[in-house]
């Protein structure tokens, strides 16, 4: 926990110069094959989970697990990228890369959450949405955009948790929540290091350089206001002790959902929009100073606030 403590207490200081190796290590940890996946958390945090299948339009996409369960005595809805652990399951799950069918199944679950006023928890862990011809023909772009809009409009409380790697629009499709939180050893980025390397370095072998440039660690995302909180993992990482990892997530999740329930629904929806409306950094007019990336929302001054900008 020492790294986390250091990172957390350092949040208002100068941007920490990220060590190349440290970032790369974070990426490896985020992708560790023994990390708990959504079904592992669901198994530990919920009772009587029932999965839904199919988008009612075209097919079922096993890359996304969607269902309802009981969490601390209340029914909740859960959507998560499920990567698969062994070769067979990875193939079955398509490595956690959803097609439009996946996001549309997710939206179907969101409709159920809306009908029954269920808290929604999303668990994000994907190298990205599936890049396939069929996915494009069936509207991958529109499915991701619609998924974001549907989350934005959902009346019940919503929490998005990055539990592994959160890459590209395929991750953000499930990320437009009241609170966005990252586990300690996870990443959130515009693209995977490999993808960024191929495009920006024109060389698929520069993934480490890309990772160092994107710096997509939880602590940085917290600083940038992209994550509202960082949830500690067991000392050796979530892969070493799934039960403890679930327990640590549970502590955050249970309290946060309870807090969000206390807020009036209209206010909750307005704040959710405001949270994403504010993210960004730019110069304006003659003064060249950087404006804040995102201001902390009024109701959450402590660990659920957005971060301060790096001084420039």
């Amino acid at each position: 926990m020492s790294r986390l403590t250091r990172r957390l207490t350092g949040r208002s200081e100068e941007a920490e110069p990220q060590d190349r190796d440290e970032v790369w290590e974070a990426i490896q940890l985020a992708r560790h094959q023994d990390r708990p996946y959504p079904l592992d958390y669901i198994d530990r945090l919920m009772t009587d989970f029932e999965e839904i299948h199919g988008d009612r339009l075209f097919s079922d996409d096993p890359a996304l697990v969607c269902g309802i369960g009981r969490y601390h005595g209340r029914p909740v809805a859960v959507i998560g990228h499920q990567k698969g652990r062994d070769t067979n399951e990875r193939t079955y799950r398509n490595f956690g890369m959803p097609g439009p069918e996946g996001y549309r199944k997710g939206m179907r679950l969101m409709e159920l959450a809306e009908k029954f006023d269920l808290d929604l928890v999303t668990l994000i862990d994907t190298p990205g949405a599936y890049p396939g011809a069929g996915a494009e023909e069936r509207g991958q772009g529109g499915a991701i955009a619609r998924s974001m809009q549907t989350m934005l409009r959902l009346r019940p409380p919503t929490v998005a948790v990055v539990i592994g790697e959160g890459s590209s629009g395929g991750a953000l499709a499930l990320g437009v929540a009241d609170r966005v939180v990252m586990l300690e050893n996870t990443t959130y980025s515009v693209i995977s290091p490999e993808g960024g390397s191929a495009i920006l370095w024109r060389d698929a072998g520069k993934a480490r350089d890309a990772a160092a440039a994107f710096k997509p660690t939880a602590s940085n995302c917290y600083r940038w206001g992209v994550a509202d909180a960082v949830v500690p993992e067991p000392a050796e990482g979530a892969h070493a002790d799934a039960d403890e990892a679930a327990r640590l997530l549970d502590a955050y999740l249970e309290r946060t959902l309870r807090e969000l329930r206390r807020v009036d629904v209209g206010q909750r929806l307005a704040r959710r929009k405001e949270r994403f409306r504010r993210i960004g950094t730019f110069r304006e007019g003659p003064h060249e100073g950087q404006v804040p990336l995102a201001d902390p929302p009024a109701d959450s001054a402590s660990e659920t606030s957005n971060g301060q900008p790096p001084a420039s």
């Binding site: 592992d40 097919s59 079922d60 097609g99 693209i191 892969h239 549970d250």
Partner: protein
């Protein structure tokens, strides 16, 4: 592999290993799938499922209710509603005669509704009976379904639906067609009142029933081998002159098509419906035992969700257009 990891797909595939065997029994029924013969009570004891090959025989609404309800708590509602003949309809036989013949068999209509308890959850059920004029939906079916929905809204109780129907009842003409809209109104009332609706699609669920309330459940399960379609295979083959594959429209295909949540063995239906109803039941303090539960349960049981994984057929992979060599971004 650490102990917390859920069981992966390939270990979970169950095979049906018993070979079909033919027993010559005089007074019983023969299995259409494997030819095995059963005495009526033998079959009923196994819920109308072939003990040799798991083929699901048709069962009546009263058998369904016996299977679904806890104990003897069933209370039928509005059983006195009966069909009229608004069009004075005659095809090969007058409609009134058809209705009388069907009623004479002991069921009053193609839909039976009532109050019961499912896995401890007080609720309502609406169960179709294919034996009554092919489970066709006329005014009585529409009215009973709507009243059941109203009762759910009044009492806050969930609704379980089991369908088996050839579609709208043609002998009631356009009035039967309108029952589709009427049941959709009922479904929308249930949505507004946040009432859970679990639908089970039995063989066959077609036409106007599939195109109205049957496709609008919050959770939708299908029995193995059930035909689920708006237009039946025969009509499609006649119109398009294409030859359909034998699995066309069957529950297993419709699962791959994303049209149902799971194909569920009849003997597992009450548990499965009960699970959904229990999850969506109001918050109960006695379940809330906090995070301590996590570690206790985590190591002990394999993920039930993981066990429920269907196998990835070549067909589904083709549908999604995903390859096994993917994975890099």
């Amino acid at each position: 592999m650490p102990p917390h990891i859920h069981i992966s797909v390939d270990r979970l595939r169950r095979r049906r290993s018993t070979p079909p065997s033919k027993k010559p029994v005089g007074d019983g029924k023969a299995c259409k799938a494997c030819g095995a013969h059963f005495r009526a009570e033998e079959l009923e004891r196994n819920w109308g499922v072939c003990t040799t090959c798991d083929h699901h025989f048709p069962v009546s609404s009263s058998e369904r209710i016996t299977q679904l309800a806890d104990g003897d708590e069933w209370r039928e509602l509005w059983s006195e509603l009966a069909a009229t003949d608004p069009l004075r309809f005659t095809d090969l036989v007058p409609y009134t005669e058809r209705v009388e013949q069907a009623e004479a068999k002991g069921v009053r209509e193609a839909l039976v509704v009532g109050e019961l308890s499912v896995q401890g959850v007080p609720s309502l059920a609406a169960v179709m009976d294919f034996g009554f004029l092919g489970g066709s939906m006329g005014s009585v079916v529409g009215e009973k379904f709507a009243r059941a929905a109203d009762r759910c809204v009044e009492t806050g109780r969930p609704l379980s639906v089991i369908t088996a129907s050839g579609g709208a009842r043609m002998q009631e003409g356009v009035i039967a067609l309108m029952q589709m809209a009427k049941t959709v109104v009922a479904i929308d009332d249930l949505r507004e009142a946040a009432i859970p609706v679990v639908v089970v699609l039995a063989h066959p669920t077609t036409g106007g029933v599939w195109a109205s309330f049957a496709s609008m459940g919050d959770f939708t399960y299908a029995e193995p081998g059930a035909l689920i379609a708006f237009s039946g295979p025969r009509v499609i083959e006649q119109t398009t002159r294409e030859k359909l594959p034998p699995e066309f429209g069957l529950a297993e295909s419709q699962l791959e098509n994303g049209q149902v949540d799971a194909v569920v063995d009849r003997r597992e239906l009450p548990g499965r419906i009960g699970s959904v109803l229990n999850i969506l039941d109001r918050p109960r303090a006695d379940i809330d035992d906090g995070a301590g539960r996590i570690a206790r349960q985590g190591r002990e049981r394999a993920s039930r969700a993981a066990q429920a994984l269907p196998k990835l057929s070549r067909r589904l992979r083709g549908r999604l257009g995903t390859g096994s060599d993917g994975g890099a971004e």
